[in-house]
Subunit: 447 residues, 4 copies
């Protein structure tokens, strides 16, 4: 992920330094466990822990360079790290990594990183949820037109719209928790997962200390269906971001103007057109969602590794691991900020709602005619006729409102009276269930 | 999905007849609920139920044709069905669909269909799990070489390999259950989800009767993040199929020949080469996995519908709904049958294991040298040297086994004795933890 | 592809009957060639041709059933066909398929089908191009607002907008021609592509008769990079459909109403809201585009077949071959019809263009101030200030047009005069290059 | 793309410095053109060129920081650059960017970068082609078994196999040239592509100087179908890399051992198993191919921008532009090096070819029986029977070779004689057309 769309905390998780810290922690914990259940002497484990902790605490660019140097020779990253570590620890280093295979370290490290990333993303989701909750309660009764197919349908409230997104992000939070559980696994099982050279209790010990679960069956690697499921969850979340971003883009259109992204003082919308205030944040989020979604396919392709494992997944994960989590972290926090500062124009909402001469109440009139005993088919025909007559003459001198047209329709006259029409034309009826929905979604309907 | 890869039970779920049955059921249940909570008279609801049940029981191709005919005129599928239903029910039909919108019917119907499909897929997964469990226990102690990068690594057992796939399919079963929960939702909330013309209790009633949950916030439609998550789960399962299929393809290679798909009497492998017995089932499964995975992208793109909804998701779902579930149903049952009948060649497994002169025991020798006090780096160098010397002269007159080479290496002689080498060269040590793994995976290790 | 989105001509290409016709043609042509260059006696080739032609001419459901019956036994589709053919031809059938392998028939047949499909798609593209050309010329001078980010930018013409889509579809036509060339290849090279049992001239002969090119190197199969490139081209075309469909969806929004899909008499937009006229065709096209795009991934995954070939691509192609071509054929013709009948509202275009008080001319005012010697930064600041003052008071009693605001701005007064403002506010200037663009795109600018 | 998979030359193309160089060049060229066709005074254009060139020549990190600083305020990257440029150029800077819009600069710059990237990739492809050509000629007559479905089929030569990949990469080179042509376009057409403030001849001038074509219709942006087609071409190439990488992975399997990636002295294959020599390069290439393929979907989703443009494509392209080209550059050069140094084992090829007792000649025996007048069905049955008898007793004491079995089969005896069997069992016949294929692919068959 390019720096432009990266935040420091998430980026740090994917830094070499953090990776080496985790590698050391896994090795040190394994030594401690082997001091209990294996061939490592207790004093050796203590020295490894002590000197290793010191080395990691003092870890600097020089260490990075030294590891790179060794890797250039051995062409193997874990061996390079272990060789560097041996230089720091001395002879006791021969107890490090005993009976383990590189993937024990690599895969468990990736789990730790993805758990760290998940925990950040959960915080991000909470920020998004808060911003949505605030807007939802602020605009619980802000009437606006609901739109299907981009066409005015029936009234709703802006708060209810936002509540729907809130409910989706609550689901997304559950999905992320499930995804975190998927990849919170530790494997220390040796070359092909048989524990031939390492006691299974070592794995349990390390897992426990790292806050992970021990993998049921690892085959040198942690099976990649877990990671595929993880990236799928991120992709679903990204798609939810896109849905909300698309909503904002629509609301900010020049013809709609019901809401606007906050426009910073000093901000310039266009180099050529000084009047422009563009929904660039939500458009940016739309693009980021495309990126994060795209990681699903290679993640799924990674599942079918050959036999006990091959290394084809590695180059994929070195990229999509950081890209997806950094990108989603950035996108969620951008979304939270955007929604928090969103400028809403209730007057424009009312103006748009009323702009079609009242045809948006056709559904309720249809029901009123049905209640008056007219067959569904006839009622539909009558209402459609009057709605289209209104619509096609909108703004024209001889145009009439939907109500005016209805009141002159011989098939309507006498069937339903003015009071029924009053009621049918009242937007308030569409907000009658909002409190009930809020109770379901937020557990309450008063702010 | 082409008929070639379709099974009748799953195909029937997606038939027009099943769809119309579900549509009617939703409408009838809604009428019953509205008789309690809305404007429908109890007698009307009873007549609708009675005459509708009769019409659905007698549903024939003529009815399908009639509905198509009406749709050709109205260009609206739900209205076409309701018009047909009105012809069957008579005047009381004006109470059908009262205050509801088409999506209330369409989306709830899709939920019912996906739940039906999930229940079939769960059965399929159980069949796969059974076939894997059987093979795993049959071959718990069948020694074979484990392979990483396609290169011999260390011994394992065929049963343990299969146990790993079993564990993955157990996870897949959990994922499918979660996916089923995602889409087991009902929405009857009207034009833009405000319940303006329908009591929320109607939704609860219908949901309850259909075994669904009521949607928290529907916006005419059930939000598509649910469906995206569903198709993601199918894609992860499909990738697990591919992993196992790829394993079988490898094992059946001419040079490996450790296992083979059952070859039917009368079967012909190739029109040109009568000797061929090809792993066509597992190759076919590989292709089907690609197809099912590909549905993830449009399912994710479907999430960001415009405002309260647009209809762009519909053409996608009309295809991937059946394609993904029919394809996965077929693939899972093909996989179950293939694994159940898989022909395993333990002798070939032993022969292959022994074919590299014992270098596959290099890891244990490395540890033995380390235990004898040699530094990790020196031990690695010594073992690698002897392994390569063995490898490069495999099958040549002056070739020696790994053990023979070790026994002549001055850096080894005196450090480790014959007994240690015996032990290091014994494949049995690699199966020592198999029972413990089986206990984790199957809850037991005896068949 | 479900029947709803299928047209008969394209569907017929993928029927079993068409496939068997092509298979026979390939076999018969190969026999003719082998009569010249191989082991087949001329009289045998003649009998095969004669009796085979007769059998194909009389081909019926009974023949399909018979072939299916044989395949159920042999589990090999080409052998099943050849066995059926032998029943029709008699003893001379032993010369059929001599030295060939199934893929020679299957892959060459797929090429013929994809060429047939391409030819239909080229016709479809021509229909789309015609519909666009007609609208472009009809509305060459129909002024409307151009929009970037959904925000009014500067005036353009509806014709120019359509000309851009026309240019894209011209490129798409080129891409389809290139894609057709990619897959217009014939392979008759035997079991692993060595021509061990068949003279290369047989391949050339068959290729020539079928209007194909002979493959450079086939390895039993025609390499799948060709097919991947083909499906990529369809995906790019589908994305172009989506771009135009998205445009129409936007123009039909209730607040915009600049264009509308034709609404059929008798059509019903919504079961609940009789006033609805929804852009359902363009939304449908959006969904179909998602489907057709999704085929790219499995097509690309098909490329890396194992060694000389495996059969994993087959299940993919049995689905995406028909799905992508049938879907694209349907989508293109739906698009052509939709664009041909599109209802355009020039009055609404003017009304929208004028709705923002003239700020859409900010770019030209910026240039005028620059020409008057004001620095870019100052000019930008001045123009932005006046545009924002106009925008934020749109429709309010104390609101002023952009021009009125400018005329009262001390930094503007005296710098540019009324005539310059007249000119800057004139939408006509934005159409000055339309003819030049039309000349480039259509080769002319008069209709 | 992570640094691990990046080469400096390609990375430099995507550096901010290169981008700003190109931006300035576009602006300077536009000024020159406007001095001819527009409002810019010739002396101003000369000053802009002179001072700008000087500023770009001296461009340093301080300049980058200054531009970032301005962007933090204006939130607009092009305006930030222009402001910085104005600081360098002085008052004449007011003629810079006159009548242009940011996208004129951004999109034309992206075209230049993609052209630069394409030119590097073409060189890479040439390196791949050279490595393949060399191996193909070196091993033109190196007999090996051809495999379909991973099962031995018929003999071929290693050179012919490589020639097939060479032919595919020739096609890939053509595709890249076509893709380069797709994106080698320049747009300088103003806010919504109407040339309202800029003479179309400016665009032509700049295009010409930059080696680009002028876009037919740009709508502020260059239409994204071009870029989608570009990324599709890269994905097809990546898939070709995967096909070859998969071949090498198979050939290096322990049981096959027909070829091996070069193993560097000092290289360590596994931290736990010193004997391992793994095909890590080709596995790495497999993963990189997945990544590069994944960019296709967001590139296709970028096509349907809203109206004249939105900015959603930008975040996508900021990532996949570098990622796809850097990744492919790295992968191609890794592939070229790997193929150049590939270690081939002709002896193992012969050993494997002979390992199945001669059944790989079943196809030719089938033909021989057919020539002897036996019907296709009977001949198939006879040959299959003898092949299976051979296969199932491979390596067993009572096992017989395919030939031995045939010679004892009463249905064969008397039909074909020893000489015919000699001929059928001769691998040489399978290489008879190799020269002809080489002539087609390489234009010659002698090295």
């Amino acid at each position: 992920m390019v720096p432009r769309y990266s935040r420091p905390a998430m980026t740090a998780i994917w830094s070499p330094t953090n990776r080496y810290r985790i590698w050391f922690e896994i090795e040190a914990l394994a030594c401690e466990a082997m001091a209990e259940y294996g061939d490592v002497r207790k004093e050796a484990a203590a020295i490894i822990r002590e000197r290793g902790d010191a080395a990691m605490a003092a870890f600097s660019d020089a260490d990075l360079a030294r590891i790179d140097e060794i890797e250039a020779e051995t062409r193997h990253d874990v061996i390079a790290f272990l060789t560097w570590l041996a230089e720091k620890i001395g002879p006791e280093s021969r107890f490090v990594h005993l009976g383990m295979t590189s993937s024990d370290v690599l895969d468990t490290c990736l789990s730790v990183q993805l758990v760290q990333a998940s925990d950040l993303l959960l915080q991000d989701l909470d920020a998004v949820l808060k911003s949505l909750r605030d807007q939802a309660f602020k605009h619980k009764d802000t009437v606006m037109i609901g739109r299907s197919h981009g066409i005015h349908a029936e009234p709703t409230s802006f708060g209810l719209k936002i509540a729907g997104h809130y409910a989706e992000f609550k689901r997304n939070r559950e999905r992320l928790l499930a995804a975190r559980r998927e990849i919170a696994v530790c494997a220390i099982s040796g070359a092909v997962g048989t524990y031939a050279h390492v006691d299974p209790r070592v794995e349990s010990y390390v897992a426990d200390k790292l806050g992970l679960y021990a993998e049921d069956v690892s085959t040198q690697v942690i099976p990649r269906d877990r990671h595929a499921a993880f990236f799928c969850a991120l992709a679903v979340i990204a798609s939810g971001i896109e849905r909300l971003a698309t909503e904002v883009r629509h609301l900010q259109r020049s013809e709609v103007r019901e809401a606007e992204e906050f426009f910073h003082p000093g901000q310039k919308g266009s180099s050529a057109m000084p009047h422009k205030r563009n929904p660039v944040l939500s458009e940016n989020l739309t693009g980021l969602a495309r990126l994060i979604r795209s990681h699903v396919i290679p993640a799924l392709e990674n599942v079918a590794l050959w036999h006990e494992r091959d290394i084809s997944h590695s180059s994929v994960e070195r990229n999509i691991g950081p890209d997806a989590t950094i990108g989603l972290d950035f996108a969620l926090m951008r979304l939270a900020g955007m929604m928090e500062k969103l400028v809403v124009y209730p007057d424009r909402m009312v103006a748009n709602l009323e702009s079609l001469g009242g045809v948006v109440h056709s559904g309720e009139v249809l029901l009123a005619l049905a209640r008056a005993g007219i067959s569904r088919e006839d009622a539909y025909r009558i209402v459609q006729r009057n709605a289209m007559a209104t619509w096609t003459k909108l703004g024209e001198p001889d145009g009439r409102t939907f109500r005016e047209n209805l009141e002159q329709d011989p098939e309507v006259v006498g069937k339903i009276d003015a009071k029924i029409l009053d009621d049918a034309m009242d937007s308030a009826r569409h907000l009658s269930a909002v409190n009930a929905v809020y109770d379901k979604v937020f557990g309450r309907h008063d702010a």
